[in-house]
Symmetry: C2
Subunit: 195 residues, 2 copies
Amino acid sequence: MQMKLLQDRIRRDGQVEPGNILKVDSFLNHQIDIELMDEIGKEFYRQFKDRGVTKILTIEASGIAIATAAAHCFRCPIVFAKKTKTLNIAGDVYTSRVDSFTHKTTNDIIVSKRFLLPGDRVLIIDDFLANGKAIFGLSDLVHQAGAELVGAGVVIEKGFQDGGKKIREMGIDLHSLAIVDAMDPVTGVVFRPED
Amino acid sequence: MQMKLLQDRIRRDGQVEPGNILKVDSFLNHQIDIELMDEIGKEFYRQFKDRGVTKILTIEASGIAIATAAAHCFRCPIVFAKKTKTLNIAGDVYTSRVDSFTHKTTNDIIVSKRFLLPGDRVLIIDDFLANGKAIFGLSDLVHQAGAELVGAGVVIEKGFQDGGKKIREMGIDLHSLAIVDAMDPVTGVVFRPED
């Protein structure tokens, strides 16, 4: 089930811009609506509360507020992967390479080996899913650590790109709170119908 | 009053490294302890709850979790300033220049003009205060917007650097949850005595 409160908010305050950009910076990733954030955290908790989550993994910067709201329900630590332009080859970090759709850049993402452990049951949280590269990168860090990936929670999935499909085909339990199947600067967004 | 729970945690899990680096990445700015974060949020609320705060302003990335925990108490939106290497001269953002002590870099920080408004009563939140440049930069953005700065809440102040002194001399109501007056890799940290 998608989250109606979020869909309504995207319809009201989201701006579709040319180049398949969905701008939600008035409530999700520049200014952040704390009421919505709390509801998003609760929704991820409802979805994943039975998985024994020991750690929430996200990526800076806009994933952090969402992960914090979720952790408020899960009562487990958050770890955020850091983006770096220069490959950090110090032996104390896991690293993976991520291309950003939005920013047209490539970053290495890193997490200290001290914060992802073999016994961890990790829930990945992020704001957007487009081509899936961020989730693939985070998932790669989890596997490098020998930890278990129990699922991935995404606020907005761009369903017209193939990231969500690929991630589901990999067997990752992906839950997106809103799935945008089409969008247009004039006519707005179309959400995926529920099964 | 400083926050004893935080001081104890810094004593237990903080690592002092050469070059006046206090590493708190196991609970504050890489892995984040949600229990501590909730208490930090409540503490900032106790301190600033009577100021009519309409917006919490922080800076990516590590300020975001702290601001989210605080906003959870204040029930107001968070705005996080973004760091950029290239001066964004589009007319729709406020911008200020910030030197980072930790990273030895200079960034421009930007906030969309849509999210800081003349009527806003802004509380600045950040993880560290050393030379004060981040707070000065954020304060500058607030003033450019014609908004009112009602205070600044910092988790850890390096009291042996002059940022805190300068900010207090500017008349900003600064509240630091822990003030480190001295630190050493062998003997650890010394907190400022309460008045």
